[in-house]
Symmetry: C2
Subunit: 420 residues, 2 copies
């Protein structure tokens, strides 16, 4: 009997943990991703705020898998799945499978706001983080030679939409970049000319956190100089202003959108049931109904738990990837897997120097200790000794010297458009 | 009396050393560059061969100059100089000067070969090095799924034109990338399928070196597996093949052009005398004849020494930058400067692991000791403690683990075209 062909579509947190669990098992493994690296997305905002170089949060997939037997990597864009013919459709051809783990992740959800989709920045990919960094630094360069104070103000106002962890962490990191670094770099720009506005539609930031931590984070951001606008919705953008629901305009050249994600686009045939944000509804074993050989893990899958879909975040994806690999091997050997059970390890967000919030197993932490825990956990989950070393070095350097060296403008136009 | 306005156009090695020499003096200093960073060009080839991240060889200009009084930086493209009106023409407006130091550097010289200019890669800018790295890795990705052996061979053949230090160093580094790293990453590609061809028009590589060192470098490259073609000229390229003088074709998707440089394009009015490669002919004090307040330093200037123009290389630019700053200050105080005198510290090129050639003060070194000297000198001349640390870490890591982690494909199309 020939080996079963297992395909993993997408090498984010879900795909990677599935691949690790399958390495060394008696299957023919094909891994696919549009990039040749695994990206540690939780630190993208630090690349965007000149705190880390891009290379520090990306790890070459082939460096991980080079010693795995019967495993191949295919650099390809995955466009669809044909469930009945058991084929994955990619720009490098159709790839047959016996078992499939779909881990294609998510994309930014602009909720149909076309002007926002056109002008806003978002942080899902490495090149987008580089674009964001280039843009922030360019705004300061332009402001430093702009005599008109209204125009300067528009250049130096930064609007962030979405008070989740990404929005909060980005707002804090941007404020520190400006206060500690850029205020020294641009002696002609006064700190009081700069504005960072965090806009959130709900009545609180970090809604997934306990109230005490939400309040801590809110107060901390305000104390750092970030303006927090709650119960406010952004409905449009022009590149020179941001439009709020009700018609108010904020004059600003910069809009970061971190207000929502949707499942990655994937043409599944025949059509399958989709939940909110386009996520594919899965069975308790993470497979598609009627297709016990196709698992959906991570952001792509809509897995219910306690009446709600599990959140679109890295720990869910990692646990589901490992589960799917195990379930697949069980099924391969004629056993039936137990249903997937998510173990909630908690949540955390960093706000600034020595300041973070964390909740785990009923404990709420804030301040220095939460910040130290955040640093250690992120270093732990980063892949590769070298990346850990580089990130640790950057963090130490930034902490001691209040300096961020990666403040390079590598292009004056947005490069993301060029990515295939 | 108001302070004299001194403008430095270009912040490469020449501009930087001039700026350092002028820092703290009683002038109003304006520095200009199209980038917001100083680039350590001699290590660009290591970025192109996945040995270093881009950020490690770039240093933000504002980080250098933030504590200098009466000094400003203007991010701008410099297009011309109006000598009689004493204006520098940039895309950020016209900037008046009392004294001007032109240090605009050089661009790649394709000697009018339009098909080569269109399809060849060259290494002058950071984005070009990233493009080169992306392209090399993409060739391996494509070859790994290409069944046709002729097509595979074309994908895995790399042609480098120009046997100067850049061509030699790139050829050696690429060969080591393939032998130590990519051969592990792509188990389906055999080392014997890959070819690196170094093409040189003269009868020897490294023509500026003594014969003994030229021979050492040549033998070493061949022993490493690089094919060296002497007395051979490339006259055309198509993206899928490289055409040699005489009509022979090498089937290859990759052509790196390092066969010549010319002075950067700069519209000087009124027209001034130009030497070979468009360099501006300078007086013994590096000024333009009739304009004792305009200094030309580095690759832009044609400064004769012993009947020959000084070479277009970093040490010349650095010495000239420092000289011009001193001469300018002397002239400002009514003194006449001594003529510029170049102190030749020697030349070196690295070929591979523990292998380099160096010549200085009549001594010729090769092998391990030249390699160690090369490493130390490059670390010494790099700017910034952090960059030295990162580069040293990368080199140590590569030496111990025979691994290069920066092998990321950050874009599947050439991004250089987007740079303004």
């Amino acid at each position: 009997m020939s080996k079963k062909r297992v395909v993993i579509a997408g090498m984010g947190f879900g795909g990677l943990s599935a691949a690790k669990a399958l390495a060394g098992s008696d299957v023919e493994l094909t891994m696919m991703d549009r990039n040749n690296y695994h990206l540690f997305q939780p630190l993208l905002y630090q690349v965007a705020t000149a705190g880390l170089e891009e290379e520090a949060i990306a790890y070459p997939i082939r460096a991980l898998t080079r010693n795995w037997k019967s495993a191949t990597f295919l650099l390809s864009d995955i466009s669809g799945v044909d469930l009945d013919s058991k084929l994955v459709i990619t720009d490098a051809g159709e790839v047959p499978y016996d078992y499939l783990i779909v881990a294609a992740g998510s994309r930014t959800n602009f909720f149909g706001l076309q002007s926002v989709a056109k002008y806003a920045f978002d942080l899902k990919r490495l090149d987008q983080a580089e674009d964001m960094r280039n843009h922030i630094l360019l705004m300061f360069e332009e402001a430093s030679r702009e005599p008109d104070s209204e125009k300067r103000s528009a250049l130096l106002t930064f609007v962030i939409v979405g008070g989740g962890p990404t929005g909060v962490e980005f707002a804090g990191a941007l404020r520190e970049l400006i206060v500690y670094v850029l205020s020294q770099d641009y002696p002609l720009i006064s700190l009081s000319e700069t504005r960072i506005i965090l806009v959130e539609a709900a009545d609180s930031i970090l809604t997934a956190m306990p109230e005490k931590l939400r309040n801590y984070a809110h107060k901390k951001l305000v104390a750092m100089g970030v303006e927090v606008m709650l119960e406010t919705r952004v409905v449009g953008a022009s590149g020179e202003s941001v439009e709020l629901y009700g018609g108010d305009l904020i004059t600003s050249h910069t809009l970061l959108w971190s207000a929502g994600v949707a499942a990655a686009q994937l043409d599944v045939k025949p059509q399958v049931e989709r939940g909110a944000a386009g996520r594919i509804v899965v069975q308790p074993d993470l497979t598609i109904k009627g297709y016990p050989d196709v698992f959906i893990v991570g952001d792509m899958g809509c897995c219910m738990s306690g009446g709600l879909p599990l959140p679109m975040m890295a720990p869910v994806a990692s646990q589901q990837g490992a589960y799917a690999a195990g379930a697949l091997l069980k099924r391969l050997h004629g056993d039936e897997p137990e249903p997937f059970h998510y173990f909630d390890k908690g949540a955390m967000a960093t706000i600034g120097r020595s300041s973070a919030v964390a909740t785990a197993a009923g404990f709420n932490l804030s301040g220095y200790i939460a910040w130290a825990a955040w640093l250690l956990l992120h270093l732990y989950y980063l892949i590769g000794f070298r990346n850990r070393l580089v990130v640790m070095m950057n963090w130490t350097y930034a902490y001691w010297f209040q300096e961020r060296q990666v403040r390079l403008i590598t292009a004056k136009k947005r490069r993301a458009a060029l990515i295939q």
